[in-house]
Amino acid sequence: MSDTTETDVVVVEAAELEVLEHAWPVRLTHWVMAASIIIMIGSGWRIYNASPIFPFSFPVPITLGGDVDVALTWHNDPGVASAIQWHFAAMWLLAVSYLLFVLWGALSGHFWRDFLPVGPASFLRDFIAAARFKLEHHLGEYNAVQKVFYWGALALVLLMLVSGVAIWKPVQSYPLELLFGGFQGARIVHFLGMAGICGFIVVHVALVVLVPKTFVAMVVGRVTGHAHGSSTEHRP
């Protein structure tokens, strides 16, 4: 029966060797993208408030662009100028970090190795498991829901960059806006893309809170052990 014993040992060792690694280009671009997206959302909400496209506005304290009373007193401006400055500064950080992230992910094999394969069947299976709080998490392994979310987030940022150009440069980039049904259509798409990214951030951060080691890995580059608890924990 020595064969069985051998196999058991291998399983135990494999369990202890759960590793999550992020190369430095991934970590650097991840955090620059994270910071610039937060800036763009906060300032975008302030800009939105200047001319809302839906029947609501964002509460000023959660928007970015300085104190409104100060701006009104000193500049006769409802704090939109600062918001636009933030928005049009962070857009460069986002565009550059996104481009580098995508280039590195594609050329290093990270995307193809970790975000593929994925399909509707595996997504549905893992989504149902996650919804029932039954999804297994292993460091260094991405489940189908995660894979779909990462592809989705990458697509949403691209949509924001393209619709953003259509709004920033509606004359020089014309007829780009026609992709979105015109200038005002591009504003709506830009808003919906923002909402999608906010949804992604909520889920993404909630999962990081549940598996804090993933946060450590994105900062220092490497963690070992299990997704949850100590490395001596048994896997079923």
Binding site: H75, N76, S82, V171, L210
Partner: protein
Amino acid sequence: MSLDRRALLRGGMSLGALTLLTGCDLSDNDAVQGLLARFSAWNDRVQAALFNPNKLAPTFADSAAVKDFRYNAWYGPENAPALSAADYRLNLAGLIANKKPWTVDQLYALPQESQVTRHVCVEGWSMIGKWTGAPLRTFFERIGADTTARYVGFECADGYYESMDMATALHPQTIMAFKLSDEILPRKYGYPFKIRVPTKLGFKNPKFVTTIFVTNQRPHGFWTDRGYNWYSGI
């Protein structure tokens, strides 16, 4: 692992507290303002490079033009300057050969063309209107403006002031608009004329213009002095 709902709630709450703490005062910090101003200057250069002097702003059918155009200023329409044709003079200054002031009749006698273009406000709203007037390029030829100079500045009867790059001033769609919706520009929209420049944001379209000057020193702008990007091309 099984997901811990309490950990989720706890983490969520501390994140919420964090976003409240970072607050909005960051924007009013001098160092941050300096950094943002440098980005804005970089954006001026990028936009000038992106500007294609031959590319026309999209034009629309006459029927798309709004008849009751949105009034927009930091004061109400009742406080708009009421200029009279008898007293009005357009003053010229700077790098211009013939600085003799122009009367309304002289201006309105210039060759004119119409455009149905879209006004895009920095706030995000947009509106299509029909404007008629003389290309600024034609006017510059008449007065002998030095079109190799870098900037054009405008002073207005309501205290407003604006400026733009020479390339944009010479763009074929940059006009001195004497009419809106086929009628002489009403008082509240900037009588006797406004600069209509469809390749720039709305606030770069000064009304009630009383002085035009040509210079190599970049002039100020009312909203630019209040933090908005100077080039503001679209």
